[in-house]
């Protein structure tokens, strides 16, 4: 049946399965062989296959979501730079420049051309977070970098390998300008190995089925994926839906909050997401040049479980004017480019909630988690180290059930926290607790998930980065009468100090024995808490998710001390009183 030159049903399915399999195999190799926690644990990378026009043939599943939209922009730019005829077998291009698809400079993209019988077919590409790219600070970007030069090494579409030959000068220039060359160059090697592997797989596929059949299949796959998305949007009610949120502004911007304003237009099977109302680009490094937020929201709403390809986003129009903080122009600072994305995505969902009330959850933690970042040197070996763990927070209550607790944001997918035992094995720190925070979930008929608290004692001197998230004054929102979740916080206690203090620290120097603590936010509640099944409130109290006091004050449920049984009669009366007080307040 699989005759060369003719596309049949079976060949279509085989190619449909093979393309994501190639991206996933790249991801497997990269993750297993990588040298940095941002790749193997945080999975802050993506692997994709693109055609010469920069169309996305496939991308790996899992991993960080906000890479989903922009690989093609870099490929298009590269093809323009070198010309379609400017690539040769064995080339490897490296780039992280912010003028196209701008992200923080740590995200280094590697791609290589695939040829068969002299014809350029496609590019495997990997964009991955290196632990350091020089500049003023290592680790999670440079939070105080107000321009790209402070942030680090800028590489603009450079051939690291030319026809298979390594450019030693480029290699040593990179090596000499980053802090952990062993780690990052090891990652680079893994990125290249994964691209080489993909080259082989793509060649096998084209050799087996013939170029015409593969390209015909690709077109069909795009069309069918697009049709699936359109089918979902078609069922939505036409209209224009708007919502807005705020995000803390930095001192560089006179503490003026970042405006997140979205306008979603549904017309037939078309969706337009317009971010024109968002703030203009900032002096603080929260800018990006990315369609990621609308694209992630669209994917989650239309076709969340299937692999991604170009067809996944074709029916979506994204409007972000130049100079918007999400479409910032070089050299705007971008070191913390992704921090606002979860809030933008939540705001898109919030806009659509009135139109589809039974399919939108309340707000989630809205930031990229709590991060445990301590810089120090191992006293035994003298080696410098940076700790890292991403701690999840609460997700919003759903129209039919409670939100999940302590999970990573909508942008982070298969991002995992670092095990306590692993952190203590690697670094001279002591993790004193990693615990859910009772009463942090927003009250609702369906409660928001709980945030957590992670407390770490550093056994050596060093410095802490314990920043406040931009959502501390704007906690995860409730929906349909639900209440907000408890906000996040970052705390520090120095040796000899009595209590923890809320801080907003970037590389704050500390003596031996300091303790850092991170609170992640709870999710917003969904629906009126007074309508929550009292049996669920009693269970939450038994489990310790909700205190007896909050059971009474937030849910109007009276529990018998000791047994935690619901006192039905008293609860009924309390709820009545609370409803009456509410009506009175509304009237007053």
């Amino acid at each position: 049946m699989a005759v060369k030159g003719k596309l049949d049903l079976v060949t279509l399915e085989v190619i449909r399965n093979s393309l994501p399999a190639i991206s996933n195999e790249m991801s497997y190799v990269l993750q297993r062989a990588s040298f940095n926690m941002m790749i193997y644990e945080v999975r802050d990378y993506c692997c994709g296959l693109l055609d010469v026009e920069g169309r996305l043939l496939s991308q790996n599943t899992g991993g960080v979501s906000h890479f989903v939209s922009d690989l093609g922009e870099v490929i298009k730019d590269g093809v323009q730079r070198f010309g379609v005829d400017g690539f040769k077998p064995g080339d490897v291009v490296i780039t992280n420049h912010q003028r196209v698809a701008g992200q923080h400079l740590n995200n280094i993209m590697i791609y290589s051309p695939v040829f068969l019988d002299g014809e350029l077919l496609a590019f495997p590409a990997i964009r991955a977070h290196w632990v350091d790219v020089g500049g003023q600070s290592t680790g999670f970007g440079a939070r105080n970098a107000t321009d790209p030069w402070l942030e680090g090494l800028q590489i603009d579409q450079i051939k690291l390998y030319d026809e298979g030959k390594l450019d030693e000068k480029v290699w040593s220039l990179i090596r000499d300008n980053i802090r952990y060359p062993d780690s990052s160059l090891g990652d680079l090697q893994s990125q290249i190995a994964a691209c080489r592997l993909a080259e082989k797989r793509v060649q096998e596929l084209f050799r087996r089925y013939g170029r015409d059949v593969v390209w015909a299949a690709v077109e069909r796959i795009f069309e069918q994926t697009e049709a699936r998305c359109r089918e979902v949007v078609e069922k939505m009610t036409d209209g224009v839906y708007e919502a807005s949120s705020l995000f803390t502004g930095s001192a560089y911007d006179n503490h003026e909050p970042v405006q997140v304003k979205v306008k979603v237009t549904i017309k037939g099977s078309d969706m337009t997401i317009d971010l024109s109302g968002c703030s203009g680009q900032r002096r603080a490094p929260i800018n990006g040049r990315t369609r990621a937020a609308p694209v992630i929201a669209y994917k989650a709403l239309t076709n969340p479980l299937e692999p991604v390809n170009e067809g996944s986003f074709r029916p979506l129009e994204v409007i972000i004017p130049e100079g918007n903080f999400m479409m910032a122009q070089y050299p705007a600072p971008m070191a913390s480019w992704s921090t606002v994305l979860p809030t933008v995505i939540d705001t898109i969902f919030k806009a659509l909630a009135p139109m589809m009330p039974d399919r939108v959850p309340a707000g989630h933690l809205g930031v990229l988690g709590g991060t445990v970042v301590f810089f120090g040197a191992n006293p035994r070996t003298g080696e410098r180290f940076v700790t890292q763990s991403i701690e999840g927070g609460g997700w919003g209550g759903r129209p039919w059930e409670d939100g999940e607790s302590a999970s990573v944001s909508v942008c982070q997918g298969d991002v995992r926290n670092a095990p306590i035992e692993k952190m203590e094995l690697r670094w001279p720190i002591l993790v004193q607790h990693r615990a859910l925070r009772p009463d942090s979930g927003g009250p609702g008929k369906y409660r928001g998930g709980l945030g957590l608290s992670t407390r770490v004692k550093a056994q050596v001197e060093g410095s802490w980065t314990l920043p406040q998230t931009g959502r501390r004054p704007y906690p995860p929102e409730g929906l349909a009468g639900g209440k907000p979740g408890d906000p996040s916080d970052a705390l520090l206690r120095l040796p000899g100090e009595e209590a923890f203090k809320s801080v907003n620290a970037v590389r704050q120097a500390v003596p031996e024995g300091s303790e850092g603590m991170v609170y992640t936010a709870g999710g917003g509640g969904w629906g009126d808490p007074l309508e929550r099944d009292p049996a669920l409130v009693a269970w939450d109290a038994l489990e310790g998710y909700v205190s007896q006091q909050a059971a009474r004050s937030e849910y109007g449920v009276v529990l018998e001390p000791g047994t935690l049984q619901v006192n039905i009669e008293e609860s009924r009366r309390l709820r009545e009183r609370m409803r009456a007080a509410r009506t009175a307040a509304d009237a007053g």
């Binding site: 060369k4 399915e13 607790s405 298969d414 995992r416 926290n417 859910l436």
Partner: protein, 688 residues
């Protein structure tokens, strides 16, 4: 006389295979599984096979009862005791959401509620030093509190107990005193490896299923004893080895994959007996197809998996036979999605109602139906003719659900269904071979499961595997594997150090301790010391990497402090797995692993008669092969009548009681002296 018997209890059937060494006689029987009292199914199998319990020397047993207890959440009310500050570690897990775009994701649901999770004031460091002493007083109070909760099981997991288990052991003693008859698991006795969430989960599962599974093993022993059984009872475990009932009752979690792994052991042994040490085992049943790679006679192991899938499943980190599974079985349903793409599986008609052609109420067309419509299965020959199949109903279902929506004929639709299933299965085989750095052309495929032989040659052809072996008893192959499995135990101990700084004296001490534990357990399992064999592994990575590779090493490397040899073995393996090596980089050791094996005597299967086997020819059938709208004539052979040395050229169908083997033009089979079909797989006519 030596009579060894194995019984495999699956979801639908209970399979029994026995071998009488003296009479060189194989006994096999099948009966329906009796879910309410599993031991009844075993006894019925014995009866059907004419086996006298009294005469059995060894009885090996595998069952899906352990995994079902977890999946159906029918385990015991269980409490968990942890280090102060870590009460929520089990609930929080790793905080990840593998389904990245699913905003309604579900995390794994803990098997122990938070109010039954208790913290103890105590703290170890990764060095094994005590930071905070164990609070005995508080431990006693917690034990009393647990006693008041009427739980049937307790799990204990303290931080860094892999480095120093003394606090856990003490907690265990206090609990045992306070809770007589309660099932208690200590994490360091189940899995002595760092990673608190995964270790907790594994230990909790052990406790959660402990009371039920140990009770089941007790019942089994009781029933057998009552019937006069005086032989040796062995239980199949997930790592492909067997263990004594004593060990099974202690480490119940080792029984999770007890059922399916038998086939992979049998595949390894079949390959070995026929002179092939490198085998790809291919098992296709009713709902899924599974594949495993066997290298140097050993099925490859995975160090853990997620029960119910990675996205929402419970981690269980003991070694299991490493399989890749796809939703393509005989019962997998073919359907056309909303945009007109043809899909096969993952939904399956299972055993009930089963394929349409079974006539038991199934309405959606399955792979079995497609095989029937194409003439690959004979309507009158299924299960030796005991179960006639309804060809017309199968054709109508394919017509209705697949052919009409796609605008093609029934035959073309059936061909497409089959081809898609074959492609999906070949992706799975690719997963265990090509994607892990192995070339399938260097392997033979051993095909089993009811539907394996029917599709194996086509899967093999996709991957250029030159030889397919269809073993004897392919549909009872799991039970056969249990008969052949060795006693096997896996141990792990975290030892985290740069290779250059490794203290070989300390490594040797760990090796000595593991050796002593291994030998003791093998002795408990009645293995003679001279039958014991040890394989050592060090989990190694480049400094800075996270994923370590288990590198097989000789113990001499450790005894002679030969870091160089260890290093070379790792570099070579890294190159094979990930495509490069970095001999200039520092490497570090993470874990020491021991695989302790007690060899069991292997039966010598009887030779079959040599001859031409002409009487095996049973006529012909018209079969639609790939890509052809007109049928081709296939000769039908009766496998039971084939003679050793006989050669059959495709196109041909070889039928046996519960399985069918297909050979196409260009393929040929030779019957081995012990009856296996050795198939030389022809290449594609277009040379691809």
């Amino acid at each position: 006389m030596t009579l060894n018997v194995a019984v495999d209890i699956g979801g639908t059937f209970t399979d029994c295979i026995g071998y009488d060494d003296e009479a060189a006689r194989v006994v096999s029987s099948k009966s329906s599984t009796t879910p309410t009292d599993l031991t009844q199914g075993i006894l019925r199998c014995f009866e059907k096979g004419g086996l006298d319990v009294h005469a059995l020397d060894t009885f090996v047993h595998g069952s899906t009862i352990a995994i079902n207890t977890v999946i159906e959440r029918k385990g015991a009310r269980t409490a968990l005791v942890v280090t102060k500050g870590t009460r929520d570690v089990y609930k929080i897990g790793r905080g990840n959401r593998p389904e990245a775009y699913n905003i309604f994701f579900k995390r794994p649901q803990p098997l122990v509620p938070r109010h039954l999770t208790f913290e103890i004031e105590e703290r170890m460091l990764p060095s094994g030093e005590v930071l905070t002493a164990f609070d005995v007083q508080q431990a006693r109070e917690v034990a009393r509190a647990i006693a008041a909760e009427s739980v049937a099981a307790v799990a204990v997991c303290f931080l860094h107990s892999w480095a120093n288990p003394s606090h856990e052991a003490e907690m265990g003693r206090i609990l045992a005193e306070a809770l007589p008859g309660c099932y208690i698991s200590l994490s360091h006795e189940i899995l002595r490896e760092y990673g608190e969430y995964e270790r907790t989960s594994t230990t909790v599962i052990n406790s959660y299923i402990g009371p039920r599974i140990s009770g089941y093993v007790d019942d089994l022993e009781g029933v057998l004893e009552k019937r006069g059984f005086e032989g040796n009872l062995l239980i199949m475990q997930s790592n492909g080895g067997v263990m004594s009932p004593l060990t099974a009752k202690r480490v119940t979690v080792a029984m999770l994959e007890s059922g399916p792994v038998g086939g992979f052991i049998a595949a390894a042994r079949t390959g070995e007996a026929l002179g092939y040490d490198n085998v790809i085992a291919f098992d296709m049943g009713g709902t899924t197809a599974k594949t495993n790679l066997i290298r140097d006679k050993v099925p490859q192991l995975a160090h853990g998996y997620y029960i119910g899938g990675y996205a929402t499943g419970q981690p269980m980190m003991l070694p299991v036979i490493d399989t890749i599974e796809v939703g393509s079985g005989g019962g997998s349903i073919g359907w056309v999605d909303e945009v007109g793409a043809l899909k096969v599986g993952p939904r399956s008609a299972g055993a009930e109602p089963g394929p349409v052609c079974y006539g038991k109420g199934g309405g959606e067309p399955t792979i079995t139906d497609a095989n029937l419509v194409l003439g690959r299965l004979g309507a009158a020959d299924f299960l030796g003719g005991e179960m006639p199949l309804d060809l017309e109903a199968a054709r109508a279902a394919i017509e209705r659900n697949v052919a009409t929506p796609l605008g093609v004929g029934a035959v073309e639709a059936a061909q497409a269904m089959l081809k898609i299933a074959i492609m999906n299965m070949s992706l799975a085989v690719r997963g265990v071979s090509v994607e892990r750095g192995y070339d399938p052309r260097d392997f033979v495929m051993v095909a089993f499961g009811g539907a394996g032989p029917l599709h194996a040659v086509e899967v093999a052809r996709e991957l250029h595997i030159p030889t397919v072996i269809v073993p004897n008893y392919p549909s009872q192959f799991s039970a056969l594997g249990m008969l052949l499995a060795d006693v096997q135990h896996d141990y792990v101990r975290t030892y985290y150090r740069k290779l250059g700084e490794a203290d070989f004296q300390e490594l040797k001490k760990i090796a000595d301790e593991l050796t002593a534990t291994g030998l003791q357990t093998l002795r408990d399992d009645s293995v003679a010391e001279k039958a014991a064999g040890f394989q050592w592994f060090l989990d190694i990575r480049y400094a800075g990497q996270d994923f370590a590779i288990p590198v097989p090493i000789r113990l001499e490397f450790v005894l002679e402090s030969d870091g160089g040899a260890i290093r070379r073995a790792f570099d070579a393996l890294h190159e094979r797995r990930y495509g490069y090596q970095s001999p200039e980089k520092e490497v570090e050791i993470v874990n020491v692993r021991l695989n302790a094996v007690g060899k069991r005597p292997q039966p010598n299967f009887p030779q079959i008669a040599v001859g031409e086997g002409a009487e095996a020819l049973r006529g012909t059938r018209q079969v639609f092969v790939e890509g052809s709208p007109v049928p081709v004539t296939f000769h039908i052979h009766d496998r039971a009548r084939l003679a050793a040395g006989q050669r059959i050229a495709g196109p041909a169908v070889i039928q046996e009681y519960a399985s069918t083997t297909m050979l196409f033009a260009g393929d040929s089979a030779t019957v081995a002296g012990t009856g296996e079909l050795m198939i030389q797989v022809g290449s594609y006519p277009d040379g691809r």
